[in-house]
Structures are given as C-alpha cells and as structure tokens.
Symmetry: C2
Subunit: 554 residues, 2 copies
C-alpha cells in the first residue's frame, strides 16, 4: 500500500489583499522557512496605532519547525516586523549585506542582541532543512534585492520578491534574467510574483532616467536645492550626490532615517561619496546658496519629517528662503496625496520653487509593469501561479495577466492571508485556512488595542465626550454631590453654557425620577442618564457624544 505523499504548503500570513506586511510560510514535513517579515502602516481608521504587524500564531504553534527567516530586501514592508517576531521565535535570519545592515540598526533600537544574522549574496545556494534556497539578483528601489528559487522535495518554487527590470541600474548589475531562464528550463512548480504595478501597461523606466532629470535641474538652479526622497532608495541618493559633484555643490543630509541609511550604505560600500562632498548641517551657511544640496526625508509629506518641518519653518537648522528649489523625488503612496499636496502648497507660499512628479521625471517606480511581469512569467514558465504583494484588485489583475499568457485558469491560485496552498509534484489545491491578520502596535502595547478600543476612539474623535458624575449616599440613595458635567471635544463650552446648563437639568430630572421610583441599582441609573442625555443632545444639536455616567457612593 503506497503511503500518502507529504505535501508542500505555502501559507501567506501577510501581503495578500494589501500592500505591505509581507510574510510567507513555506512548509514541508518538519521544516518551515519564513520569507520576509514585514509591517504595514495603519489605515486611517486605526486611530492612534503606530504600526501593524502580522498575526503569527501559526508560526508560534509550529515554533520548533521554523528553520530560518529568509529576507528578499530591506524595505519596512519586508523586514519591519522582524524585531517583534524574533522576540517570540528564535530563528536564524538570512539576507544580503545591505538588508542585514539595515536590520542591525533596527535590532539595536529594540535592544536585541542575540540574533543570528547570516549573510548571503545573489548567486548563493544554501541548504536549510529539506530546502535548498538559491538567491537571484533582481532590481528594485533598494540595492541588494533578491528573488528566491526554493528547491523543495516536490519541485522548485520561485518567489520574485519586489522587483523591476532595470538594464541600466546605478552602481549595480541588471536583474539576472539568465538565472530565471535557467531555473525555468529545469521546470518550476510555482511562481509567486510581485503584483504592485500590474495595472500599469508597458515598462517601468530605468532609475538612470531620474539622474538625467537631476542633471538638467541642477544645471539650471541658481539657488539652494533640496531633494526629498525615500531614505532607503540608495540609488536615488547616489544620483543626487553624482549631480551635486558634477555641479560643484556640497551635500547636507537631513532627517533621521536619511542619516541612518546613508551611514549604513556608505559603510557597506553601496554609496560612493567623494571625500569632502558631505558637509555638516551646521557648516551649511559657510557656503553660498548655489553651492549646496540638501538631501532630506519627507517625500510623502509626513508631518514630522524634515521637509515638512522646513515647509512650516519648524526645522531647527534649515530656513528656506524664496528662490530655493525643492525637488520631491517620489510619488505619493496612495493615501498620502493630500499631505504631500499640503507640503507643496506650504513651500510655494514661502516663495520656494517646487518640482514634483507632474512637472518633471523626478521619480520612477521600483516595481515591474505589465511587460516586465510577462517577461518573468515567460522565462520561469511555472506550472502554478500565485500572485502576491498587492491588494485584491492587483492579485486579480495579475491572475488575468497569467491567463492571457496561456496559463490554465485552474492553475492560478489567488489566495488570502491565511490561505494554505498545498502542493504535490503534480497537484495544487487550497487547504483549510489558518489564522492570519493584523496585530496593532500602539506605543509599547502589542495587540492590546482591539476593535472595542478603536470603536471608542472613533466615537470620541467624531463627537467627543460628556462625563456625568454624581455622588450618592450609600444609605438612602440621596444625591450628596453633583451632578457635574464635564465635556471634552464636544462643544466650545464658553459659547455653550446654556446647553450645558440644560443638560445638567436633564440629568437632575432623571435622578429625581429614579429617586421617586426607588431605583437605586447603578446600571439602571447610568443607562437612564445616558438615554435621557443622548436624546436631549441629539434633539438640540444633532450630535451624539460618548456619554460616561459615573456614580460614586459615600
């Protein structure tokens, strides 16, 4: 009698149906490897939340199986949850040099020392448990990004990580297309590929095109230049520095994460900065305005960023003046359009010139567009396809793209976070789901803010709060003090004294009624106060504040 074959499981715990929080489990018998370990920034309605990390309860249940966490590149949506996860699962981490460099910084901030970081490079083949993992050079908006070819007992899985195809990258080589072709030729069981830009036709432009724009801008600028971009885009930073050197400008760096990344990238050899190019921000005023470039954070209009502080005249070292030129070398991430626009308006009101995306080619994406995706699909030619890294609309569109390329519909698996996709050598199917989702981080609290707390925050944010306090006698239920009414976030009290006075009368009336009817149980008392006050306020002013009745007994 033949034994039922073991199955390979691919379980995305994050990154499906969202852009961020990428984490994928690859499991076979007693071996698990985890690919990436990212965070996502909170949605608008997650009030007060700092970051969101994946629910890893499945990994915690299978802790002893986890052999490694393997990282594709150093962006927050791929490494940001690592400190949180490593506190609970002590697994060795594998990544390329820059990725590990950025992680070291992060672990230091979290005061974590005993993490085993294993450096790999593109071209390496390592063995972990029953898996062999090959690291393949790709291009992306951060150096040292890799795709993975995971040789499993049932076949090869290719995971692209985040990628684009750049034939003329900066300080770097093009994506190793021949390796993709070679592995494709061997036969690939499944492809997991980046879906971020699948709605965009054509090709993503080379990073180098931005350098041409910079040279053009720098050649014409007669005043100070300030360039805002993503701190992790080391290529972009290199090009700003190259243009600065070409046009004899000194470079000043502003913004914590920018200083951080430039430090790490320079130390590890990813940035080539001629001696004497960087100057201290405090020395900036020793140079004429047309001899200075500032590289800064804040390209997303983040309110606390260096660029926003410059725009609002709150930067301690840099005071922008009319004639300065700000280049925003980034596209607003969906949801950030308004904050970016606000910073642009603010800068312009100061008389600063601003160049942004719609005015010049000052940014290119780090993700593959349709034609690049088709190329990878054609080279890898997998039997099964799992679109990853994208909202549902992107995953669906990517599935359609694969179908258009000739893949049978039934070989395409559009999963969700927590889906189990099970493989044998010649089959693939959805298994039962495991728990997956969002863990909210607020300050030091991890997961202690849930739906009830968020619902209360939303309620408080929209209509504010009214606290009603009354002290009653233990013996006879008589009112000893109060009722006092305190409001916050409700109305401007000085203008609404009448309203608050009437509200107090409403509560007094309720208490009188309750006393008359010998109602002394607190729950009834409180809900009577709440109901009466809610009705009164809605009638009067069509608002619905949170009402918090508090009864003290003496």
């Amino acid at each position: 009698m033949s034994r039922k074959p073991y199955k390979l499981k691919i379980i995305p715990l994050g990154g499906l149906g969202e852009v961020g929080k990428n984490i994928t489990v690859i499991e076979y018998r007693n071996d698990i490897i985890v690919i990436d370990c990212g965070l996502i920034f909170p949605e608008d309605e997650m009030l007060g939340i700092d970051v969101v990390i994946p629910d890893i309860s499945y990994l915690l249940k299978n802790k002893e199986k986890v052999r490694a966490i393997v990282l594709t590149h150093g962006h927050e949506d791929h490494i940001g949850a690592l400190p949180y996860v490593l506190k609970k699962i002590n697994a060795p981490v594998y990544g390329t040099k820059l990725t590990l460099g950025l992680i070291e910084n992060k672990l230091r901030e979290h005061n974590m020392k005993n993490v085993k970081l294993n450096k790999v490079e593109a071209g390496d083949l390592i063995e972990i448990g029953c898996f062999k993992i090959e690291f393949i050079k790709t291009n992306h908006s951060i150096p040292d990004s890799v795709a993975l070819a995971i040789h499993t007992p049932v076949g090869i899985i290719v995971h692209t990580g985040d990628f684009k195809i750049d034939y003329t990258p900066i300080n770097d080589e093009a994506i190793d297309l021949r390796k993709f072709a070679e592995i494709g030729k061997k036969g690939v069981l499944a492809l997991l590929a980046d879906s971020t830009n699948v709605e965009r036709p054509g090709y993503t432009m080379s990073e180098r095109t931005v350098g041409d724009t910079f040279n053009d801008i720098f050649s014409k600028a007669e005043h100070r230049i300030i360039v805002a971009t993503f701190a992790s885009n080391v290529y972009r930073i290199q090009q700003i520095i190259d243009s600065a050197v070409l046009f004899n400008r000194k470079v000043v760096v502003s913004g914590r994460s920018m200083i951080n990344v430039i430090g790490v990238a320079t130390e590890l050899g990813y940035l080539n900065i001629p001696d004497g190019t960087l100057i201290d921000i405090n020395d900036m005023n020793k140079y004429p305005y047309d001899k200075v470039v500032v590289i800064t954070t804040g390209s997303q209009g983040e309110p606390m960023s260096a660029l926003a502080r410059m725009a609002y005249s709150e930067h301690r070292k840099i005071e922008l003046v009319p004639g300065d030129l700000v280049v925003i070398s980034a596209t607003p991430i969906p949801g950030n359009e308004k904050t970016v626009s606000r910073v642009i308006n603010q800068l312009m009101e100061k008389g600063v010139n601003v160049i942004y995306e719609s005015l010049a080619d000052v940014h290119v994406s780090g993700h593959a567009c349709q034609e690049e995706l088709k190329l990878i699909h054609a080279l890898v030619k997998p039997k099964y396809f799992i679109p990853v890294h994208g909202e549902y609309r992107h995953l669906r569109r990517h599935a359609q793209l694969a179908e258009d390329l000739g893949m049978p519909k039934e070989n395409i698996f559009v999963g969700q976070n927590g889906s189990i996709i099970e493989f044998t050598r010649n089959s693939c199917s959805f298994g039962p789901k495991v728990s997956a989702g969002n863990i909210l981080v607020d300050g030091l609290g991890i997961g202690d803010v849930g739906n009830i707390v968020l619902r209360d925050r939303k309620h408080l944010s929209e209509d504010g709060l009214i606290v009603v306090v009354v002290t009653i006698s233990k013996e006879d239920g008589k009112i000893m003090a109060g009722p006092d009414i305190i409001s916050r976030g409700f109305v401007y009290v000085r203008e609404s004294e009448d309203l608050m006075g009437e509200a107090r009368d409403v509560v007094r009336e309720v208490l009188r009624e309750c006393e008359k009817n010998h109602i002394t149980d607190w729950a009834t008392l409180k809900s009577s106060i709440r109901d009466a006050l809610r009705g009164f306020l809605y009638e009067k002013i069509k608002r619905n504040p949170m009402i918090l009745p508090i009864i003290m007994e003496v």
Copy 2:
C-alpha cells in the same frame, strides 16, 4: 481739486488656496454682488465635522450693500453654503434653471421658503446696482454652467466659473467662445479663471468620448451593469441611459442624491429618458440580468453610499453576484484614493468585474487643461489676472501660465481668501485683508467647534481617555470614595487589569501625599494626579491618553 476715484473691490472669501468653498465679493461704493456660495468637505483632521462653510463676517458687516448672490453652476462647492448664508443675509439669488432647481431642493431640506430665486439664462444681461452682468454659456460636468462678464464702473470683469471647452457636448451647445472674444475685444479689466487642472498639459477630452466607452462596454456585457458616477453629472447620466436604450436594457436608479438629481433634471428637461426605460428598483428582478443597468452614487467610495452598500452586501434592494459588472465612471478626488480602492477590492472579492479609470476611458474631467486655459486667456486678453479655484500650487502655476502668455508679472494677483484686490480704470493693487476662513458645521452647530474642541478630539482619537474620580470630605479633605479609574479608547481593559490596578495605586499615592502636605486646593490636586498618571503610563506603555481628574466634595 479732483475727487479721489472710487475703487472696485474684488474680495475672494473662499476658493483660493483650496478646491471648494467658492465665494467672491464684487464691491463698488454701495453695491455688493456675491459670486457663488459654496461649501467644502472637511479635511481629515477636522474630526467629526460635517461640512465647512465660508466665514462671511465681511458680508454681515456690509449686509445692506448686498444686492444679489449670483451663481455660476449647481455644484456643492458653489452653492452648498447658500442655505447657511441666506439665513443671515436676505439677498435675491440669480442662477440658471438647473442651478435653481437644485437649490430649491436644498432650501426645502432646510425648511426655507422665502428666498427670491431669479432665473437667468446664458446670453442674458441683467442690471444689479451699478453692475451689468452678462451670462456666458460654458461647458462643465454639470449642465447650465455659465461664466460671468461683470460690467462695472471701472471696467469689465470676466469670471469663468468652473469650465472646460467641449466642442461636442451631450444634449447641449459648446461654450460660447465668440462671446468671450467679443468681450475681450471691448477690453477686459480683469479675468478670474478656474485653476483646477492647470497642472495638466493638453486638452480635457470631450464628454462624448465616455459615451463611446460605455457603448463598447455595454456591447460586451453579458450580465447586470452597475455604473457609479457623480449624481450632478447629468451628461454622464444621459450617456448611460443612451447606452442602455441602445442595448435594450432597463435602468434602475439607486442612491438618494442620484434619485434627486435625475428627478430635477428630468422635470426641467435636461435629461431625455424614453418612456419605459426607468423601472422601479423593486421590479428589477422581473428582468433578466443582461437587461438591466443600475445607475448609482458612490463613485468616491463613500462608506454610506449605495455602491459601498452593494459592495459590503448591505444594500437593501440590490445583491451583487459574480458576473455583474461595476463601472466606476469617475476619478478619485484627492484624498479618496483609498476608499475607492477599498470598494473596488471588495467588489472583486464578490466575483464582480470592475472597470475603473486605469482600465478604460470611463471618465473625463470637467475642468480646462493648459491649452484650454491658454485659449480663454488669449480671447479675453485681460489687463489684470487673478487665478481662482485652486490650491496655492494651482494658483501659482496658473500665474506662471499667464506670464508665459506674455502678461506682465506685476499685473497678476495671486490672492488669498480675504485679500482685497482694488481696481481703478488703470490700476490694480492689494488692499488690507478682511477676515475670511472656515466655519465648521457639526450637526446643527455652526461654528461652535473650534480649535480647542478639535485638538481634544484628536487627542482622544489617538490615545483615548482616562477619567479619575474621587470624592473627598468638605471638612477634612479625607477621601470618602474612590479613586475610581474609568478608561475609554485606551487599552482593552480585561487584558490590562494589572496596569489599571497599578494606575489606581499611583493615584492613591498622590492623594496620600497631598493629604500629608495639607494640599487641598483642587487645581493642585488635579494637576498632581494628571502629572503622576501621565508619567506612569508613558513609562509603562508609551501612550499618552487624555487624563480627566474629577473631584467631588461631600
């Protein structure tokens, strides 16, 4: 001795440095006319606010001078504040037929009866006070839009309103370019022109192109079609109906404002709907799925809209099924990208096909792009130029466009809300500013939510609230009851009992200390509690809730 000449004043009270809340005052001696009277929707940080209307204190101070409110078209950002303003200023209103039709609806909702609405049409010339006002046919995303040529004692002022140039509009005529040319030839003192699309090169496509796309989509659809668009875009609605008729589909209307506008537009002759085309939503299921089109609101992903309710299976009448096709015939307004995307994802997860902007030409803008703006500037050839209707970045860009066309820099006036721009026959300059700004409407309260209330709402929304109540004795300051600690929006209490217990200990300790040191004044007591608790919580959990100490005395 010659008398100092009277000046014409143009005072934008809204619409500059923002997209919305358009209202402009034109004043000469004892006559004021107000052009448009719009609202704007609240920014994200205006928590709980429903709408924002302009501060009209300048008009209130000059109430007796206000001769008329003249409207360019029926969009909310041009008429939305009218009920609020008319409650304080009893001026006659002038507008075209559809504009007034929409206003009547609005006034009815506000229970306002005695407003004098005066119907005008493009081509009319009316006299109000010392002004003659000519109404000029334009194109926009709502029918019956007009520009104004205001003949004043010092010269002609042209105000474009919102406009585009559409040579092939739907059920309508093209913008009256010859009138612009004719007035331009007479000599125009100043032009005020729409700046919304000034960052876009080229021309805005004709509304008609969308109809071609609809026909293409309808010809292929094999299931139900749901089209979401702006309720006020009567042209778009006409084209959906035309395609429906062409492909033998019945039309169902969903969404309060859609039903509203279709009612008004049909009654006034702006929509041409063949008998038997519209069917009641309750009869929809009598028809096969491929014989039905639903026209609905919700193209901006608004959470309570009909489309969002369909997406989340909360619509009482329409249950979407796999195979249905949703067409989102709109572009997300900046700030709405994420809500729109969420609805698209949700629809796709139901197996519904979704066509949106990046997939097909299902929308065109209602505003003029660069080449159209240049044409109007060239025809009108004003002496002075005031860019209006746009964020600061748009106004600046529009000023640049005028300069590129040869206008002297010093003849361009980029103002702010509240700026006075003063004209004589041959001069123009900024005068002193008047008060202008935002009045926040929350429920029935107008202007009673200010910065303090918003700051509290923000604080509450981010970290929640802790109320500390203690009852002390009037005689000796001894604690009679409490301290009790109640929290909302802070932590999930059941998981944090220890923390709350420790917090109570902190408060007890403060009270003990105060008692020992005979501190009985409430202000000190409260601030001691607040400080101690704030320090404790930040140390423990890095959060900073609002702390509300309440002391009762018995």
